[in-house]
Amino acid sequence: MASDRTNGDDYFAPIRRLLVGLLVLAMFGLFLLWRIDSPRVERFRAAVIDQVVPSFDWAMAPVTGLVNMLADFQSYQRIHEQNRDLRRELQQMRAWREAALQLEQENAKLLDLNNVRLDPNLTYITGVVMADSGSPFRQSVLLNVGARDGIIDGWPTMDGIGLVGRISGVGQNTSRVILLTDTSSRIPVMIQPSGQKAILAGDNTVYPPIDFLDNADVVRPGDRVVSSGDGGLFPGDLLIGQVVLGTDGRLRVRLSADYERLEFLRVLRAPQVEVITDPGTLIVPTGPALSLLPPAPDATAVEATDG
């Protein structure tokens, strides 16, 4: 009896198979196009997201709020304990505040004496987080500000305290922030008291590791990590976090920004954004040609040991 069905389908089967084949080919074609000409397809992606996600927003904001409220409700059970902790913390903070005020006054006086003009270009635009990446493999959030508000690719994004990520992908009304924890995030950083420069490389964990550190001996857990401003990528001296020693023995960074609740983010108007104009070329020294060969006696010694 099962053959009845296949008989009925005979007219459509070849056409359907052809359609499946064409569709799969088209999808692979799109993937290859993305691989070859990524910026164009990514712009298309930004435009699609720009159309789709804001239309969800009327429902998204209340649901997110509700779920967060439920999560908060659980923490009310420990309210007494929390209150005591907060009071103690507040006491400590008052002392710090006093110190900070004094330092601020001193700093202002010194700046005035030296006639320093602060950079007025570092203003910011605040956006609300609309959605996250939706996949456990990508760490990014979508903001409700975009090209309409003058956002440009590559600008740094902070919450109230520390760096959160950088803009990557701008639509008309939305823009995407690649978080520091994403596997594709690489930020040049400086580690504060020692002045060591390194790269903060996201690897999809809560504490991103520090890469390309010149001298790890002078870096201790607890050191401050700030952006270094190398390569014209970011303005310097944006707070990122503190150095911690990971369980795997690598130096990692505990981020200052509160990744648990990203709600409002500041996009800094960075004055200088690196614009890539030419295709990648080999970087060669421009001065007189350097000899890459070791001196003659060494070469013979190497040959001797090889033989």
């Binding site: 009896m1 099962a2 009845d4 069905r5 009925g8 359907r16 359609l19 499946v20 569709l23 799969v24 088209a26 999808m27 692979f28 074609g29 799109l30 993937f31 290859l32 993305w34 691989r35 397809v41 298309f44 992606r45 699609v48 997201i49 789709v52 996600v53 969800f56 429902a59 998204m60 649901v63 997110t64 779920v67 967060n68 987080v129 609309m130 959605a131 996250d132 990446s133 939706g134 996949s135 456990p136 493999f137 990508r138 760490q139 990014s140 959030v141 979508l142 995407r176 978080l179 924890t181 596997t183 594709s184 690897d203 999809n204 964990t205 809560v206 990744y259 648990e260 609740r261 990203l262």
Partner: protein
């Protein structure tokens, strides 16, 4: 009679689309922006596979392509690759759907599990072949495992909520053909 069958057919498709929309919506909610060490199951894939093995007529190929291409774009996956792999997998399961109707559940589960493993590995291999940066292997494997483990749960929930079951003997489709 024909009208009733026709409407049940469209209601089935509509339910599938609504389930997909709800899942995408839930995934996009910015509830947890911290990276985790394990990955939640890929419910979109799980639900699609459950539907396609049990009621292939509710999940037309173009709908699968549209849903997965849209999520490729929304979730920042390489566009097209995952869609193509899922399309191939659903077509293979669709071709076997009649045979899978009479087998015990564990065999259906095993077939689907093999499919999930195949697309996950194929995805990684293609990405490696074109030298695209990839997610950590542990994360991918944990998602594959949780997706496979989730399949029976999805089947039970789909049965309880939407009455998604294997076609009974003598049921006919929208064009009056025997299923």
């Amino acid at each position: 009679m024909a009208d009733a069958i026709q409407s049940r057919f469209w209601v089935g498709r509509l339910i599938f689309v609504l389930v997909m929309l709800a899942l995408v919506f839930a995934l996009l909610l910015p509830l947890n922006t911290q990276p985790r060490g394990w990955a939640a199951p890929d419910l979109l894939l799980c639900v699609t596979l459950a539907w396609v093995t049990r009621r292939p007529e509710f999940v037309p190929m173009l709908l699968v392509a549209a849903v997965f291409l849209a999520t490729d774009l929304l979730f920042h996956r390489p566009p097209g690759l995952w869609t193509a792999l899922v399309l191939i997998l659903t077509q293979m399961l669709r071709a076997r759907a009649t045979g899978l109707r009479n087998v015990p559940f564990w065999l259906e589960w095993a077939t689907v599990a093999m499919g999930i493993v195949a697309v996950t590995l194929a995805n990684r291999m293609v990405l490696a072949a074109v030298m695209t940066p990839q997610a950590p292997l542990g994360l991918t494997l944990s998602q594959m495992l949780t997706t496979i483990l989730c399949y029976p749960v999805v089947v039970v929930v789909a049965y309880a909520l939407f009455g998604l079951s294997r076609p009974a003997l003598g049921e006919v489709d929208a064009r009056g053909r025997r299923l």
